[in-house]
């Protein structure tokens, strides 16, 4: 069964797989998670604001993003980002955007919808007395969010946010549809060049599996620790 397999191809392509592929994947995951968290928190604040219109707009955005498949959103932004860039910079023609920038914008906008739901739950889990006490102390809305509500919401939701980041880490593999060399894309390039699909895809699967397993084990431990503090 494994007789005519050549696992040496993995060893030969290790530097390319990890230095190029995995670093792209991890960079994309990290920056998207950060950007998604920032935008997601803003969207959550909009949804919970007392201005009904803001809440409606944010709600529509979240529902819209969550009902589309990520693959379609990746295609959308791939074609849309050059035009957005043209509009922002006032250039005369659609600007050229690199693969990394394009996928980064996609994942930030897409994940913001998911992170915002988590942050909304986190903010709603803070008892009403806290912002009330903050405003009694004379803190403005911005101050009470900045110093009282958001730090606690973030801490309570940390395990869920990290779990979502693991999902995001797996989802970044979908940039494959744009032929971008992330980790899976790099593995697939080597696989097709050398005709070693079985070896490379098994290896890619194993790497994703080990990283995700370790990460979710870490999240479970963190959750247990946080649970004791509360």
């Amino acid at each position: 069964m494994f007789g005519n397999l050549d696992f040496d191809v993995i060893r030969r392509s290790l530097p390319y797989l990890f230095l190029d592929g995995m670093s792209f994947t991890l960079m994309l995951t990290g920056l998207s998670a950060l950007g998604g968290l920032v935008f997601g928190t803003l969207i959550a604040l909009m949804r919970l604001s007392s201005y009904k219109l803001l809440g409606r707009i944010a709600g529509l955005y979240v529902d819209f993003m969550r009902s589309l498949p990520l693959v379609l959103v990746i295609f959308w932004f791939y074609f849309l980002v050059p035009y957005i860039g043209q509009w922002l910079t006032g250039a005369s023609r659609p600007i050229r955007v690199g693969a990394f920038t394009s996928s980064l914008v996609t994942f930030i906008m897409f994940e913001a919808a998911y992170f915002s739901e988590i942050m909304r739950a986190g903010i709603q889990s803070i008892s009403r007395g806290q912002p009330a006490a903050a405003s009694a102390l004379g803190l403005t809305y911005a101050q009470s969010m900045r110093y009282i509500v958001l730090p606690q919401a973030f801490r309570n939701m940390l395990p869920v946010l990290l779990t979502q980041t693991i999902v995001l880490f797996q989802d970044t593999s979908l940039v494959y549809v744009l032929s971008i060399p992330d980790f899976l894309g790099a593995a697939s390039k080597v696989a097709q060049r050398d005709g070693r699909l079985v070896e490379m895809y098994l290896f890619a699967a194993a790497v994703y599996f080990v990283i995700s397993c370790l990460a979710s084990w870490g999240v479970r431990r963190l959750q247990a620790r946080i649970a004791i503090v509360r």
Binding site: P69, L184, V198, A204
Partner: protein
């Protein structure tokens, strides 16, 4: 924006020679629905089995279900589809592998089974949570009435648990619909694939993607509305959602 909008493109003949571009997209929509439904049936069957195993007191059963769930949850769906599509036929004995490779509609079956198994791990977790949320008395009452474990699950625990987890199952079904689009990578030309094909043939990128977007939104609205009615009629009296 110097982009030439042309909304009439949908009624122009497509290059395959059969019908208009709109027909192309609608055929993609049907393939998405067909794949998603088959995947959902698979997800429900395997998810139920694994979910029950997860809720049993036996150590071995919970270990099996733990491994199953971790296996399918810790790999990207795309990688799983590649494993089923490219790797599995090579690892099987020669004749079986050849038969698999020559299967007509291979992308369709691979997508339905791959997405189905991927989603089954999620269904299992939801079902186990649903069973765990039932008061302990339910299981004890079933035993006291003389029901065997199988009968207890069949007549008491599962009907209750499934009705409780209806809302999360709705969103898992919608995830199944969305996840079928990943099968574009193994050559399944479903809705997203057809939109992409239309973009390549006609260069009307944004019209094609807008149409696909509207179709996905329509699926969402129909499923959510339908499930809301179903949830209301199946709600358990006495629970918060019940009458």
């Amino acid at each position: 924006m110097n982009y030439n909008w042309n909304w009439h493109i949908f009624f122009e003949p497509n290059p395959t020679g059969a019908g208009t571009y709109l027909d192309l997209l609608v055929s993609g929509l049907w393939l998405t629905i067909k794949t998603a439904l088959l995947a959902w049936i698979i997800a429900l069957i395997f998810g139920t089995i694994i979910g029950i195993l997860r809720s049993l007191p036996s150590k071995a059963a919970s270990w099996i279900s733990f491994c199953y769930v971790e296996f399918f949850r810790n790999m990207p769906l795309l990688v799983q589809l590649f494993l089923w599509f490219f790797v599995l036929p090579e690892l099987l004995p020669r004749t079986a592998g050849l038969w698999l490779k020559q299967l007509p509609n291979a992308p369709f079956w691979t997508a339905a089974i791959g997405v189905g198994l991927f989603m089954s791990a999620r269904v299992a977790v939801q079902l186990a949570a649903g069973i765990a949320s039932l008061p302990r008395g339910q299981k004890q009452a079933a035993t006291a009435l003389g029901l065997t474990t199988t009968q207890g699950y069949r007549y008491v625990l599962l009907p209750m648990a499934f009705r409780i987890i209806m809302p999360p199952l709705t969103s898992e079904f919608l995830n199944t619909v969305k996840n079928t689009s990943v099968a574009i990578t193994i050559g399944l030309i479903e809705l997203t694939g057809q939109a992409r094909a239309m973009q390549e043939f006609s260069f009307q990128v944004f019209e094609a993607f807008t149409a696909a977007t509207i179709m996905y939104l329509a699926i969402n609205i129909i499923v959510v509305t339908g499930m809301r009615f179903l949830e209301r009629s199946l709600a358990i009296p006495g629970y918060i959602t019940g009458k």
